[in-house]
């Protein structure tokens, strides 16, 4: 068992407060992804867990034992660095065994672990090479192998795929997910790429400026973002936002008004009836009902129609130059200059109050 608890963890570098206070609970065997824009403190949080930085305040507990004063090596965590940090003057085998030699493990046991890890990652034929003779993907495997040989309670990955090309990234994504299934260890993974987060995580932690914005399963975050930031960050292409006001709302009936636009009835209802002057409507590109009949929703003008073959993305504009991206399954017939009418699908819309937090919908 390797539960990880962060309790009001704070970190400042001099006068700069990077993490103003994070509480987080990670249970054994979870694959957790920290995601956020660059500079949001996700790497710092990972380094705090690893023990490479000291916390300014708060507590980190692994298996209910505080590790704040435990050196990095003794916390039972292993880290895969963004640059891989392989020792360039050692062969792959020496790289894998260095940590084990340092704790004076027996030769036979070291050899067993190294060959196990090498077999698992299919790098057996590379053991006698040096890092600079390896490709990016191979280095990545060696870096992961070095973490595996230490048999840690928790794996930490610091943007491990950011140095790989797009194709290899997809492959390694799948491999790391498989690895997690096979090993069953707790893994914490830092990335700024929300696709990696969506595809790999059991649990996503969205961070902004050192603050946890939302924690949850990938699809929960996608379907029920807690605020504007999460709604905009999770999902690709990103959600459309239109600023306006809630003109009328009761249990089964919501009307949203935006300047220059006809009032829009949102199918579905809010959890509590309310009207609000400053509100933002968010609708994902795939959540529109597209029609060519006037009066069936907001009129938009098609600017560019991108045909991907299986999917089409229409870059449109509302009156008042508000950009709207619309997804259509299959190959679209829309052309540049066409006028389409958009309405949201039932309960597939999001309303956010003036402070950016989501207004709860009535559960369907």
């Amino acid at each position: 068992m390797a539960n990880l608890t962060l309790q009001n963890v704070k970190k400042s570098f001099g006068a700069v407060e990077v993490i103003p206070g994070v509480d987080l609970e990670i249970t054994d065997g979870e694959f957790v992804v920290f995601v956020g824009p660059s500079g949001c403190g996700k790497s710092t949080l990972l380094r705090l867990i690893a023990g490479l930085e000291d916390v300014t305040d708060g507590d980190i507990r692994i298996d209910n034992a505080s590790v704040v004063d435990v050196p990095a090596a003794d916390r039972g965590v292993a880290m895969v660095f963004q640059s891989y940090a392989l020792y360039p003057h050692m062969t792959v085998r020496e790289n894998l065994s260095f940590g084990l030699e340092n704790i004076r493990m027996e030769k036979a046991e070291i050899n067993r672990r190294v060959s196990d890890a090498a077999r698992l990652l299919q790098i057996e034929q590379l053991l006698e090479r040096r890092p600079r003779q390896l490709s990016g993907g191979q280095r990545q495997r060696v870096a992961i192998g070095r973490a595996i040989t230490r048999d840690p309670k928790i794996f930490l990955f610091d943007e491990p795929l950011s140095n790989l090309d797009a194709e290899l990234r997809v492959l390694m994504r799948v491999e790391i997910t498989k690895l997690h299934e096979r090993l069953g260890n707790t893994m914490i993974y830092v990335t700024h790429d929300q696709i990696e987060a969506m595809t790999m995580a059991d649990k996503i932690v969205v961070l902004r400026k050192g603050v946890v914005e939302q924690v949850g399963a990938p699809l929960d975050l996608y379907n029920e973002p807690r605020n504007l930031f999460v709604a905009g960050f999770i999902g690709s292409p990103r959600m459309n936002f239109v600023a306006g006001k809630i003109a009328a709302a009761d249990a089964g009936h919501v009307v949203f008004e935006a300047p220059d636009l006809p009032p829009l009835a949102l199918p579905g209802g809010l959890a509590a009836p309310l009207t609000a002057d400053g509100a933002t409507l968010g609708i994902r590109p795939e959540d529109f009902v597209v029609s060519r009949d006037a009066g069936a929703g907001w009129p938009v003008t098609v600017g560019v129609a991108e045909q991907y073959g299986a999917n089409s993305y229409l870059h449109c504009t509302l009156p008042g130059d508000v950009p709207i991206l619309v997804h259509e399954a299959g190959q679209s017939l829309a052309r540049r200059g066409d006028v389409l009418y958009l309405a949201p699908r039932e309960n597939h819309w999001h309303l956010f109050g003036a402070d950016g937090t989501a207004i709860a919908r009535r559960q369907a």
Binding site: P71, N102, S135
Partner: protein
């Protein structure tokens, strides 16, 4: 992945040496470049070559004016009835014929000569008609005399020089790299003050601290002891700075990875930092070897006993004891310079790459 550090197959020494800017003909910049390089070669290399050649000249040849380029020696012949070998001369006779005669003695502008084939008859020849018979001769006895005349002491001096150079360089490398490691990779209060004060010592000339150094060495009872020369300068500010600059380029993530790999700080230094800074270490080693081998002032002050002399001190002592014996002096200078030349030949690729990577001269 391609490895860029490996030399391209087509690049040979000949191709390198004949490289030029102009495609077919020599560009004017080529002329300028080669002229400059040749000038540099002459300025740097001529004195070295002159010493090496002169070390094979006989004493007479050395004091000649005008000097000869190559070592020549007067040819001598052993004549019956004379103990010493006699110098041979080409003599132009009154009949215009040239004969080879051996000179007995010279009186004023006349010289008494004998024909080696007919030693009984003495011939008086005007000096102007006689030119000494000379041939190329390598006076290797300069070297053998050097070894024998010092009575084996030369090996003692050589050992002293080697001991000081090797031991001091080893200690210098360890001390400097430890300081550089701390100054480049640890964040601690006063690290900048420490670095600046180390660098500030560069402004103090060695001669200024010579007397205080001697007093400390004397207090420690190391006068006349090789350690008295080794210890005072094992920490060099240039070495610390050079190594620190190089170590700054080693990624911190490597050290963090090693730290997570249960490596102690000492082990990180020994297994990660040192192997990765080998180019900079080579540069520091070369500088250290050079200065230690050639060091004169500190050994002169500290090493007062003859048994503890270094080669440089022994060299200097040739000039005082029996006058200046140039032939022995030159032979010894050549011998003394040889190890450095070899050190340079073997380590020069590290020097260029090391200096290029640290950006320091």
């Amino acid at each position: 992945m391609t490895d860029l550090s490996q030399p391209k197959p087509g690049l040979s020494i000949a191709a390198f040496a004949t490289r030029r800017r102009g495609r077919k003909r020599l560009d004017w910049t080529d002329w300028l470049t080669y002229l400059y390089l040749v000038l540099g070669l002459l300025v740097m290399f001529t004195p070295v070559l002159w010493v090496a050649i002169s070390s094979f000249k006989t004493p007479a040849n050395l004091t000649e004016f005008p000097p000869t380029l190559l070592p020549y020696a007067a040819q001598t012949v052993v004549v019956e009835g004379h103990d010493e070998p006699l110098p041979l001369f080409d003599v132009v006779g009154e009949d215009g014929q040239t004969r080879q005669l051996a000179q007995l003695r010279r009186v004023g502008i006349q010289a008494q000569m004998i024909d080696p084939a007919n030693p009984e008859e003495r011939i008086v020849v005007p000096v102007g008609n006689a030119t000494p018979v000379r041939q190329l001769y390598l006076a290797t006895e300069n070297y053998s005399n050097l070894l024998s005349s010092t009575g084996g002491q030369i090996w003692r001096y050589l050992f002293n020089s080697l001991f000081i150079t090797v031991v001091a360089t080893a200690i210098t490398l360890v001390m400097n790299s430890m300081a550089a490691f701390a100054l480049s990779k640890y964040r601690f209060r006063g690290s900048n003050v420490a670095l600046v004060s180390i660098l500030a010592t560069l402004m103090i000339p060695a001669t200024v601290v010579l007397v205080p150094t001697y007093m400390i060495v004397a207090q420690l009872g190391l006068v006349g002891n090789l350690w008295g020369v080794i210890l005072p300068t094992v920490a060099t500010p240039t070495g610390v700075f050079l190594l620190r600059q190089y170590m700054l380029t080693i990624p911190d993530e490597l050290i963090e990875a090693a730290r997570m790999d249960h490596a102690s700080e000492w082990r990180i230094f020994w297994r990660i930092i040192l192997p990765l800074s080998s180019p900079a270490l080579a540069v520091v080693a070369i500088f250290s070897i050079l200065s230690r081998w050639n060091d004169f002032l500190l050994p002169l002050v500290v090493l007062t006993r003859r048994e503890s002399y270094t080669l440089q001190l022994a060299l200097a002592s040739f000039q005082t004891e029996y006058g200046v014996r140039y032939e022995v002096l030159l032979a010894m200078t050549t011998l003394t310079a040889l190890p450095l030349a070899f050190a340079f030949i073997f380590l020069q690729r590290y020097i260029t790459s090391g200096i290029a990577s640290t950006g320091i001269k």
